[in-house]
């Protein structure tokens, strides 16, 4: 692209905020009552993270893997790509993250620390936020309840939950799983900022928080 420095972020926004949030509304209505199942999966994942056990991390990673694959296909590829050609690439990135979760979280075990202490609380706090609080943010800033973004259905809460799990994860393989969620936080924040959404800072702040906590972890 020539003279790339002359482009603003808004030059890349292909749709109106109304169209963007209507996409969630239509998506939610088309997959109802899938949201109930997604919420149950989120709650089960939370319970499993708190409880621990020999299969804990593998089941959590498998749930996240399925969630990323579903979002890649059902949201990015099948819906978002209809208004944003870049979403085809987002679908590829989300599918790649699902593969990474499979390789480093299911096949090779991801070790999760207990949910106590500062780091443990931060990690589980992000997962709780993703499953229970994030869906409320849209309505709180004035969007319709029909446009709620739910874990394992929409990208943002799925990414936040994954960042929470990665904060809890120990070992170097967790770092391999971080780049795509962090990049998505930037993409999502930039999109929301360009649309002047009230919650535009949320995803970049979540990414910065997760990175800051992980950076402070003993290796």
């Amino acid at each position: 692209m020539s003279e790339w420095w002359t482009y603003r972020l808004s030059s890349f926004l292909l749709f109106s905020p109304r169209t963007y949030y209507r996409l969630f509304e239509l998506y939610n209505s088309e997959i109802w009552p899938g949201q109930v199942l997604a919420l149950l999966v989120g709650l089960a994942m939370l319970a499993l993270i708190r409880k621990g056990g020999p299969w804990q991390s593998r089941v959590v990673a498998a749930a996240l893997c399925i969630a990323w694959l579903w979002v890649a296909w059902a949201y990015h590829y099948a819906r978002y790509a209809s208004i944003n050609w870049a979403a085809t690439y987002f679908a590829g990135a989300f599918a790649l993250e699902a593969l990474l979760l499979l390789a480093f979280g299911v096949v090779k075990k991801l070790h999760l620390r207990p949910c106590d202490g500062l780091i443990g609380t931060a990690g589980i706090g992000l997962v709780v936020f993703a499953v229970l609080v994030h869906p409320l943010i849209g309505p709180l800033v004035g969007r319709s309840w029909f446009q709620v973004e739910i874990f394992a259905i929409a990208p943002d809460p799925t990414v936040v939950a994954t960042l929470g799990v990665l904060v809890l994860a120990t070992g170097p393989s967790a770092w391999l799983l971080l780049p795509i969620p962090v990049l998505w936080c930037l993409v999502s924040g930039a999109t929301a900022w360009t649309m002047h959404s009230a919650d535009a800072a949320l995803m970049p702040v979540v990414a910065a928080f997760a990175l800051a906590v992980r950076k402070g972890l003993p290796s």
Partner: protein, 314 residues
Amino acid sequence: MRIETVVQIPSVNRRKLLHALAAASAAALTARTGLARADSVLTRPIPSSGEGLPVVGLGSWITFNVGYDEVARASCADVIGNFFAAGGRLIDSSPMYGSSQAVIGASLKRLGKPAALFSADKVWTSPGSRGPAQIETSRLHWGVPRFDLLQVHNLLAWQEHLPTLNAMKAKGQLRYVGITTSEGRRHREVEDIMRTQPLDFVQVTYNVIDREVEARILPLARERGIAVIVNRPFQQGALIERVGRRPLPPWAGEIGCTSWAQLLLKFIISHPAVTCAIPATTSVAHVRENMQAAREPLPDEAMRRRMAVHVAAL
């Protein structure tokens, strides 16, 4: 400044008939002009052919990219239907604009393929060898037998695309060839292409604030006989937002303006080098309002200066 008029008749069938008559006997209609009548839409001739185009068209950047949302698609069809009913012809899109082409195509089908349509699209891909496939995909989205105008979007791979487009034109698969840029980018290169390539159209950003093209590109277009399409007439809504809170100046009525949108459009289309401005909208009220700007009276040079000074001071 040569101005023609097309009399607006509400009935779709009568409009189609009129369009056919206009195409067949433009000279007869032109003879009735001078200063156009209040109920008629102003047209400007495309220099390379003499074909008249209404001075206000319809853009589709953002506004028609609504995906599979059937409610929004119906609303877009309504906007396009009202655009034609108000005497509009040129609709502009691009493969870069998400689902806009498909939404336009579905709207045209819903409206019974209006004969007045002047389809303007773009080729936007690199390398240039992908151009023909992209153009065919675009054509299928629109559902038209051929495009009236194809433009190289933002000069991307223009060296490869222009020969393709000129070959299509020579074979009768395309009527006009053009290039586009926006927001003041690569003007020097645009000028070079205008000087060296056979172009029918050039598309640039021009409005009462962004007036860089007045210095070189618009005079060059007149000199070379190239039609000019103007994008971003309202700076993607920012200009309307900026001036819209203020009352219209008292002299707006002298040039037939009842809204800021009309005033801003009249500034653009009153430049003698401009063939057509292409505001985009999702609102039926706005498309009607925009089309009202394509009517006499237009501001003269003194009034244009007054408009520019007034808006700059807001």
